[in-house]
């Protein structure tokens, strides 16, 4: 197949996924954590698209649409939860979330 080999995409998506994981682990702001999670999900989407191109199959592409829709729903739910949290304590720093043992 002409063009860029599939492996390049896979490596890129692995790097993106890792960056996302690091973001989740190191960031303290709820929104930033959520953005890192979105990065992880989209890295996976890249993998699907790359494989779908390699297999000449639509399955991977279709799945990406589903994932995108679900990510949007997650964003809605997540932001709602953060807003509710903000109402309680005027911050969305996850380190402040210590009413119960973490």
């Amino acid at each position: 197949m002409p063009g860029i080999p599939t492996n390049y995409f896979l490596i890129l998506s692995a790097i993106l996924f890792t960056i996302g994981v690091c973001g989740v682990l190191t960031r303290r702001n709820g929104i930033t954590i959520f953005m890192s999670i979105e990065l992880m999900v989209n890295a996976v989407n890249l993998t699907f698209v790359a494989y779908a191109r390699q297999f000449h199959s639509l399955h991977g592409l279709i799945f990406v649409f589903f994932v995108m829709a679900i990510a949007a729903a997650e964003a809605a739910v997540g932001l709602a939860i953060f807003i509710a949290l903000y109402h309680h304590r005027d911050t969305i720093d996850v380190d402040e979330a210590n009413l119960m043992h973490w």
Binding site: L10, F17, G20, V21, V24, G30, I33, F34, I37, M40, V41, A43, V44, T47, F48, Y51, Q54, F55, S57, H59, G60, I62, F63, F66, V67, I70, A73, E74, V77, G78, A80, I81, F82, A84, L85, H88, R89, V94, A97, L99, M100, H101, W102
Partner: protein, 487 residues
């Protein structure tokens, strides 16, 4: 897609439609009639149950009927779990009644979310493609995040929702990455195609990585160590009926997926992944039970106990034999009913918003509520696996499966930890029967009484006359076992 295909999908369609209707009722002026929501929900559950049973007649004589381009299948395995889910949701509905009426939260939306969760769980049970499974899982998860934070005026509930949300989305991203790698190696997301592809394949790193990531994502859902950190906080912070739901229905659905995916798709690489899962199971049992001993809050104790039970159930997946698969089915059922019964008792012990939090609340319960106290003992014994309760039957299956599969060491860990678990289960028995004291006031509504009585009946009947449920379980799992034998 034909008319027959739609019929097979009927239970899910009914659940989703019902959920949507419940959602718009308040907009149409139903908000005032909040108390009607419970009955609407129960009616919906009844119709869904009928549809599930009806779908079995649609496929009568056929072991498995895949439909929608082999992404969705109705078989005895899925029917078993779907019926279990419907019963769980109906019981959670009953558990929620008092809680909702006291706290003045909107009831229609609450039940609507439960119905959506049910829809997701049913898709998980019927999914024979990783796509379907993932979507069902997310539908369940998104509903659960909201439900965990439903108590929005309470900071604990919101905080629990936040923790559950962050860890849940991370875990589903991990699961998704696992799916993508498996897709890349096998070229398909259908479980049977994956199995066929793997049977001619040598072990390779990308595949093992994919399987491990998938397992990690599922381990989060079943709360196995080291993916368990969310469990105690969420169980304590979430509204109590939702904690009951998360520890029963949600886990049962995750086990349905776990069992189907690993038994159907990955038997070829059993040797490679079984040791990793065995380590996870052993850790779950050890950490869960040892941590539970030190808890003074009953909900946290139950959370750690639920972590340890995830470890026991994993034995059935690790064993990868007939006994193991049946063990998962029966153990899930047994565990679900024992747990729902315990949560009903906790809900009965009311102290302000959060109920039955500390062991002291249980003091002298056998005087104030003898039936509840007695049932509680039966449930605790069932969780501990003491005959003649249902828990013994479940543990027997799982231990036998592990011994048969050559995981003797794991079975020894499991029995030693079962003995340890009796230590903290007995603490509640001691408080209820042996200690004098007033404890918390009790409000034993007919709904709670019904939940307790039903759970008690199941726990005792399965314990004393296990033949019937076992036959059912064998019927429900034989077609998946067949694949294992073919391997």
């Amino acid at each position: 897609m034909t008319w027959a295909d739609t019929l097979l999908l009927l239970p899910e369609l009914i659940a989703a439609t019902g959920a949507s209707i419940l959602l718009i009722v308040p907009v149409l002026g139903g908000r005032a009639r909040g108390h009607m929501a419970k009955w609407a929900m129960l009616a919906l559950m009844a119709v869904t149950a009928l549809a599930v049973i009806g779908s079995t007649y649609a496929v009568a004589g056929v072991q498995q009927t895949p439909t929608f381009r082999a992404m969705f299948a109705v078989d005895a395995f899925s029917v078993f779990f779907k019926l279990l889910f419907v019963v769980v949701i109906a019981l959670v509905t009953l558990l929620s009644e008092d809680f909702l009426s006291e706290e003045r939260y909107s009831t229609w939306e609450y039940y609507s979310l439960l119905a959506f969760a049910l829809c997701g769980m049913m898709f998980m049970a019927s999914g024979v493609s990783l796509i379907t499974i993932y979507i069902g899982l997310e539908l369940l998860a998104l509903s659960s995040y909201i439900l965990a934070g439903y108590y929005k005026n309470h900071e604990e509930s919101t905080e629990a929702a936040m923790k559950y949300f962050i860890l849940g989305t991370v875990s589903s991203a991990i699961l998704l990455y696992g799916i993508s790698l498996i897709y890349g190696v096998c070229g398909s997301m259908r479980l049977s195609t994956i199995a066929a592809a793997l049977s001619t394949m040598l072990s390779n790193d990308a595949l093992m990585f994919g399987i491990m990531l998938l397992a990690a994502g599922l381990c989060f859902k079943i709360a196995a160590v080291p993916f368990h950190v969310w469990t105690p906080d969420v169980y304590v912070g979430a509204p109590t009926p939702i904690s009951a739901f998360l520890s029963t229905g949600s886990k049962a659905a995750a086990f349905a997926v776990f069992a189907r995916v690993f038994y159907v798709a990955f038997p070829a690489f059993h040797l490679d992944w079984s040791n990793v899962l065995a380590a996870i199971a052993a850790l779950s049992m050890i950490v869960g039970n040892l941590a539970a001993i030190t808890q003074t809050n009953v909900k946290r104790m139950l959370a750690y106990s639920s972590i340890s039970h995830a470890g026991y159930s994993l034995l059935g997946i690790i064993a990868m034999n007939e006994m193991g698969l049946r063990g998962i089915l029966i153990y899930t059922m047994v565990y679900v009913f024992a747990n729902l019964g315990i949560w009903a008792t906790i809900l009965m012990l009311r102290r302000h918003a959060y109920a039955g939090e500390s062991v002291e609340d249980f003091r002298g319960l056998h005087k104030r509520a003898p039936f509840a106290a007695f049932s509680m003992v039966v449930f605790l014994l069932s969780l501990g696996g003491i005959p003649p309760t249902a828990g013994f039957i479940g543990k027997y299956f799982l231990f036998a499966a592990a011994v048969q599969a050559g995981f003797g060491w794991l079975a020894i860990v499991a029995v030693v930890m079962s003995a340890v678990s009796m230590f903290y289960y007995l603490r509640l028995v001691v408080a209820m029967y042996l200690e004098e004291g007033s404890g918390a006031e009790t409000i034993y509504s007919p709904s709670l009484r019904f939940v307790t009585a039903l759970s008690l009946t199941v726990t005792l009947v399965v314990g004393f006359i296990p033949e019937l449920p076992i036959r059912q379980v064998i019927e429900s799992s034989s077609h998946l076992v067949g694949r294992v034998v073919q391997r």
